[in-house]
């Protein structure tokens, strides 16, 4: 039964992906028929070269963020954790801001800076977590992650303060709000080599995640290497996050809300809840991006829409508790 729900969601995602290709302001005002696009060379070129990579990037972005969020929440045994708790999102924002203020601010330097400082965020959190002198390994890592994230946020604030208010500050603000308006085929192809292997690792170890949510010694007694396996999954989750946020900016709430929705639909067994989270994440960001590019003649930053829809959904989810589900 639960598996059928996941398959149904997958079918909806495929249909929504196809429909999103027809959605836009050209050649029709909102939705065009396939024949209208095929008959118009300009429309066909637009769909193939701009809309298709953007739609696929939206699905990949949502999949990566939701998968990473699911992994973080399970490994930290805390359903209110996402990549923001390990300094990853804040690291990406700092790296992008640094590139805009101190380097050329080109797309390549911004993406490189975001990816580098996102991964560095995890590295710092992990290293500092080992040096905290109290609490279990999970608590230590979370505390270190929160401190590293705050440090990055302070750094980003300083860079915004120092930035040229007419030239650099709008770029920083727009990057932090997040969006997929600039995605092209090369951008999408650059995301794939990191994101796809990371997603494969997460999906392949989905049943194993149940083991890693147990106490360390219990997981060990069941044949797991809890610290090593957690590290592998953490690296996969952070790599996937860094690869997509480097291109798309900060897209919040996906990693937090989607795993909750997935568990609502199919239960807490990660074997099914993780794949459901991946599909649901792709669908959520795809639909938000469809709104971002069609609600107004100009672009609405995607991060605003995901935060708006995500926070409302989160509140609804918290107030409509189902017996046995703890949020």
């Amino acid at each position: 039964m639960d598996r059928h729900r996941t398959l149904l969601l997958l079918a909806v995602l495929v249909a929504a992906t196809a429909a999103s290709l027809l959605l836009g302001r050209y050649p029709g005002p909102v939705m065009s028929s396939p024949s209208a696009i095929l008959d118009d060379d300009l429309a066909a070129s637009l769909v193939l070269n701009l809309r298709l990579p953007r739609v696929l990037a939206a699905v990949l972005l949502g999949t990566a963020l939701a998968g990473a969020g699911f992994v973080f929440q399970t490994l930290f045994r805390n359903p209110l954790v996402d990549s923001g708790f390990l300094g990853v999102s804040q690291g990406a924002a700092f790296g992008a801001s640094l590139a805009i203020v101190c380097a050329s601010g080109s797309a390549a330097t911004v993406q490189l800076g975001a990816a580098f400082f996102a991964v560095l965020g995890l590295g710092l959190s992990y290293t500092l977590g080992h040096r905290i002198r109290f609490g279990g390994p999970v608590l230590r890592l979370l505390l270190a992650g929160i401190a590293v994230g705050s440090l990055y946020t302070a750094g980003t604030g300083l860079l915004k303060y120092l930035a040229d208010p007419l030239r650099q500050l709008p770029d920083i603000t727009f990057w932090i709000l997040g969006g997929l308006w600039a995605i092209t085929w090369p951008d999408l192809l650059q995301m794939l080599p990191v994101t796809i292997p990371a997603l494969v690792v997460m999906a392949a170890m989905s049943w194993r995640l149940n083991l890693l949510a147990l106490r360390d010694e219990t997981a060990f007694s069941l044949g797991a290497a809890p610290r090593l396996e957690r590290l592998v999954l953490l690296i996969a989750a952070v790599a996937a996050t860094a690869a997509v946020v480097a291109k798309a900016g900060q897209i919040t709430w996906v990693g937090l809300i989607i795993p909750h929705l997935a568990r609502r639909l199919v239960g807490w067994n990660a074997r099914l809840a993780l794949p459901t989270s991946l599909v649901l994440g792709g669908l959520f960001v795809l639909l938000c991006d469809d709104l971002a590019r069609t609600l107004r003649s100009g672009e609405i930053p995607l991060g605003i829409l995901t935060a708006m829809v995500g926070s409302i959904a989160f509140l609804v989810l918290l107030t409509l508790r189902r017996p046995g589900i703890r949020a």
Partner: protein, 277 residues
């Protein structure tokens, strides 16, 4: 040691936690029998859980070595070892909410590769254990919604699916009512009959008196005594282990341990605060 062959031998084992000066275990030597129930007794902080974790291989001893059925942990593969030694720690059902059958299925992990998922034979093993433990009716209940006694049975069911030759139970009866205590003790006795070595920790000597064949007494990480339960559960040994005077009486053919309520003549005996000071 006379009698049945040893399932676990502990040779001169010491263990000191990071940033602690005093060892949690200090030069402990043991030979624990196979196909028997061993109770590790001691006050809070005496090193009982540390001893289980050292036997499990989770905590590598600072000194000495541990063998399970003649072989050391480091000489076996991780999965092979976890088919030999299983652990049920205190309230280890996890923070996330699995259904009971899904939770019990985790016990099959040692038989699966890193990326392998449970198959029909694993599900059949779960069904068999749910039937023998009487948990069938709860199979779709979330573990978090079970009573503490049912959760303890669920954890033991998970260990039964794992089917290790040596099963370590950390305080399996704490916070259980009489009915659940009876249920857990029944499972422990069943495991002994099937030839498993069960090593359980408890701070209650009456649990040891009720179920154990062999008793280990620990005080501040050091071995006070170990041997057959009838020989070890004496007034002198227990008073020395707990730091309080106790009485050991026989009631209906069973040994019962009670704390002495009046101070001994001529002075007071040391209390719990003195034990941990």
């Amino acid at each position: 040691m006379s009698g049945p062959p040893s399932a676990v031998t502990v040779e001169g084992v010491s263990y000191t936690y990071d940033r602690r000066e005093l060892p949690a275990l200090d030069g402990v030597d043991l030979a624990l029998p196979d196909a028997a129930v061993t109770a590790v007794l001691g006050a809070n902080g005496s090193g009982k859980t540390t001893l289980l974790n050292v036997i499990l291989g989770w905590l590598p001893p600072s000194e000495g070595r541990v063998r399970v059925h003649g072989r050391e942990h480091r000489r076996r593969g991780r999965r092979e070892w976890s088919c030999q030694v299983g652990l049920v720690s205190q309230d280890d059902a996890g923070a996330f909410e699995l259904e009971l059958a899904e939770y019990v299925l985790l016990g099959r992990a040692p038989y699966l590769g890193l990326l392998e998922r449970p198959g029909p034979q694993d599900l059949a093993a779960v069904e068999a254990v749910l039937a023998t433990t009487g948990l069938e009716a709860l199979r779709t209940r979330l573990v978090s919604s079970l009573s503490s006694g049912e959760r303890q049975l669920a954890s033991i069911a998970r260990a039964l699916v794992q089917n290790p030759r040596v099963l370590l139970l950390d305080e399996p009866l704490s916070h259980l009512d009489l009915a659940n205590t009876r249920g857990v003790l029944g499972l422990v006795a069943g495991l002994r009959r099937q030839g498993h070595a069960v090593i359980l920790t408890t701070h209650d000597p009456n649990v040891a008196a009720a179920v154990a064949d062999w008793v280990v007494l620990l005080r501040r990480g050091r071995l006070v005594a170990d041997g057959p339960a009838a020989e070890i559960l004496t007034r002198e040994n227990l008073s020395s282990t707990y730091g309080v005077e106790v009485e050991v009486v026989s009631a209906g053919g069973r040994t019962v341990v009670l704390p002495t309520l009046d101070p001994p003549p001529g002075g007071s005996f040391p209390g719990p605060l003195e034990q941990i000071s």
